[in-house]
């Protein structure tokens, strides 16, 4: 499982996802606001109606008290005096405790049947009861009913019921809702469009980076992504990208230089071969002369073979995934072996060589590669140390593992060359080019051997005083 958030895993477009979330969120906020407003409106309209109804009820109660007789005699069909003059939606009814209707607004019984005796009995003296009901024809009504005590204590109580047809309010609200849906629809479209534009705008720098990156080829590796106008979040990404390009460009340059060097190094011996053979075949010669030519050709072949072997070794070390074959070695004995082998050559060059190493110092290394690393270093030291100088090979156990150093009192290496001496084909003295022994791979091989062991190599040098190379082989 990767730790990428689940919603990105399916490869959704960021712009699309952002648009959706933006639209959903802003639409939600708007819907909530509109809903609250609508609810407030409906509520206050209802309260207004109830207040209106209560006023009517109070008026009617006062009239009923002042002229109770009028009520009972009121003939059907005549508008009573207490009726609110311009409010046809208000209905009124007077009942006795037994449920008999004394009088009512014409047509009221059709819409709202009178309450039964049991319902009236539950009503207390003081408060009225409020009900929201739906009339027989489906109109929304709100009703209020109160108990009106008789003038004298002996008089039976009467009940006064007022009702209001809220159809008009409902129509108003329905109209309002229709408008609201329209606004919702429009704003949804606007939200999606705006969200998309905003998301795209935010994404544009990424697209620019991607376009720029897509245009970079091996021939235009020097191009970089301009970071000045980029938003802060993306500048980091672009910087990372640019530094990757830096490294790529550098490796590319190295590879191309490397191929150049390889071609050059191969060209020299092959040119020698070809020339020698051509000249030899140019006229009849003695057997001895042919032998001489063939011997020389063979030397060139050996040079080519060695170069190829070394290059292959380096190439494989870089990419090798095979574990190194290691064995337990007696380090002092190996150093003595190298000393014995190179001692004669050093002696001929007037150089004193000695190997020092702690007794019974052990190491777990690849023996052949270990020999080769030390041998290359000693061979280098011999060719760079003047007569009368000395070479010391030393080994000791350090915290990091086995450390072996080769130190000479030779001509040294100028500081500007030091960082590059382990590069392939790098030669401090370019005038030595063409000498068969020095191709400039010796130190590269040493470094490669150290890395294969998981170790490293350090070089310290002082021009005119000498050079010390230290190899470490971790345990």
């Amino acid at each position: 499982m990767t730790n990428v958030p689940a919603r990105w895993r399916s490869g959704w477009s960021i712009a699309l996802t952002m648009t959706l979330w933006y639209a959903l969120f802003s639409f939600g906020v708007m819907a909530l606001a509109a809903g609250i407003l609508y609810w407030t409106l409906a509520q206050s309209m209802y309260e207004e109606d109830v207040r209106d109804l209560a006023d009517n009820l109070n008026n009617a109660r006062l009239l009923l008290r002042s002229a109770p007789a009028d009520w009972t005699l009121h003939p059907e069909g005549r508008r009573p005096a207490w009726a609110p003059p311009h409010q046809p939606e208000i209905y009124l009814r007077v009942l006795r405790a037994d449920g008999r209707v004394l009088t009512e607004t014409p047509g009221m019984s059709r819409e709202l049947p009178p309450p039964g005796k049991a319902e009236l009995a539950t009503l207390s003296a003081a408060d009225g009861a409020r009900h929201d009901t739906v009339s027989a024809s489906g109109q929304p009504f709100v009703t209020l009913i109160v108990r009106v005590p008789g003038e004298r204590a002996a008089d039976p109580p009467q009940f006064l019921q007022v009702a209001m047809d809220r159809e008009h309010d409902e129509q108003l609200l329905a109209h309002y809702r229709e408008r609201l849906w329209l606004v919702f629809g429009l704003s949804l479209i606007v939200c999606v469009a705006a969200g998309y534009l905003i998301a795209r705008g935010g994404m544009r720098p990424i697209e620019e980076i991607s376009h720029k990156a897509a245009r970079i080829r091996s021939t235009t590796l020097d191009e970089r992504i301009a970071t000045r106008h980029l938003p802060v979040e993306l500048r980091n990404l672009a910087d990372t990208f640019n530094s990757m390009l830096d490294r790529l460009e550098q490796s590319f340059r190295h590879i191309s230089e490397f191929s150049d060097d390889v071609a050059h190094e191969l060209r020299t011996p092959i040119n020698n071969l070809r020339g020698e053979i051509e000249v030899a075949l140019g006229k009849a010669r003695s057997g001895e002369a042919y032998r001489e030519t063939l011997g020389s050709c063979l030397e060139e072949c050996a040079r080519i073979s060695r170069l190829i072997a070394t290059l292959l070794f380096l190439a494989r070390s870089d990419t090798s995934t095979h574990p190194l074959e290691r064995e337990q070695i007696d380090v002092s004995r190996e150093l003595a072996t190298v000393e014995a082998f190179y001692g004669a050559a050093a002696g001929d060059a007037g150089i004193a060589m000695r190997a020092t190493g702690a007794e019974r110092l052990q190491g777990r290394v690849n023996r052949t590669l270990f020999q080769q690393a030390i041998g290359n270093l000693v061979s280098n030291a011999i060719s760079h140390t003047p007569p009368g100088g000395s070479i010391t090979i030393a080994a000791h156990e350090s915290g990091a593992g086995l450390a072996v150093s080769v130190e000479d009192t030779g001509c040294g290496i100028a500081p500007e060359h030091l960082p590059r001496v382990f590069e392939r084909f790098y030669r401090v003295d370019r005038t030595q080019e063409g000498s068969a022994a020095n191709v400039g791979l010796g130190l590269a091989v040493v470094k490669s051997i150290a890395s294969r062991h998981g170790g490293g190599v350090e070089i310290a040098s002082e021009p005119g005083r000498g050079t010390k190379v230290k190899l470490t082989f971790p345990r």
Binding site: R291, G295, R306, V338, R367, G375
Partner: protein, 239 residues
């Protein structure tokens, strides 16, 4: 046996039969010519199928087998031979020196291998070493012309006079004497005498050889150690 060699032909017993399976005609041609000149009787097969057939039917003392062959590769030939319990020594040639290639060859029952490009002298040395395996050790006393070496007492004499040699010089001389008539490469000498196993790309062996010669040859008129340019060194009596 080595001390009494009349010439370099007897490195192998006369008439030892070799089979070369190599698809590259030029390589097969120079190998067979070189080996015939060194006293072997050589058969050549250019195709894997023919090679396998010859190897199974013929009686060879050793087989030189290229691994990369058209149609049928060298591995399968070794496998087939070993499956039929034909234990002819096999030296395989490969252009790829990846470690698992070598290990594979040796696991399949090959006796030794060489990575192309190789020196012919190297091939000859390895072939002789394969053929020598299991035979009696050379006698402790070696002699060529008036040079005599007593391996047991670590003493070398020339024309009756003792030679003052360091232990390594003695080992070097012993190697040359043991392989009289064989041209030994610098790499092989470094390996056998100093136990230096990498191709040292230097004239270090030359220096040692020069020192040895100053003791063995310089005081005498008849030179026994010869340089073969581009190949290495040989100790033999030349007229």
């Amino acid at each position: 046996m080595a001390a009494s060699r009349p010439d370099n032909q007897d490195a192998a017993q006369p008439g030892m039969r070799l089979l070369i399976v190599e698809d590259e005609h030029k390589a097969a041609a120079y190998l067979s010519r070189g080996l015939e000149e060194n006293g072997f009787v050589v058969d050549v097969a250019h195709r894997g199928e023919d090679g396998a057939h010859l190897a199974r039917s013929g009686t060879y003392d050793a087989i030189i087998l290229d691994v990369m062959l058209p149609g049928r590769d060298g591995w399968s030939i070794i496998e087939e031979l070993r499956r039929h319990e034909i234990e002819t020594p096999v030296l395989f040639l490969t252009a790829r020196d990846a470690i698992h290639d070598r290990v594979k060859g040796l696991e399949l029952g090959a006796d030794d291998y060489l990575v192309k490009p190789f020196a012919f002298s190297e091939l000859l040395a390895r072939l002789r070493s394969i053929l020598r395996r299991g035979r009696a050790k050379p006698p402790p006393s070696l002699r060529v012309a008036d040079l005599e070496l007593d391996a047991v007492r670590h003493r070398a004499m020339r024309a009756g006079r003792p030679l003052e040699l360091t232990p390594k010089e003695f080992q070097l001389l012993a190697l040359l004497l043991r392989r009289t008539g064989e041209v030994l490469s610098r790499t092989l000498i470094a390996e056998e005498v100093w136990d230096i196993n990498f191709d040292s790309d230097s004239n270090v062996v030359e220096v040692h050889m020069r020192r040895l010669r100053s003791k063995v040859d310089d005081p005498f008129d008849r030179k026994l150690i010869h340089t073969v340019r581009g190949v290495g060194y040989v100790l033999e009596e030349r007229s």
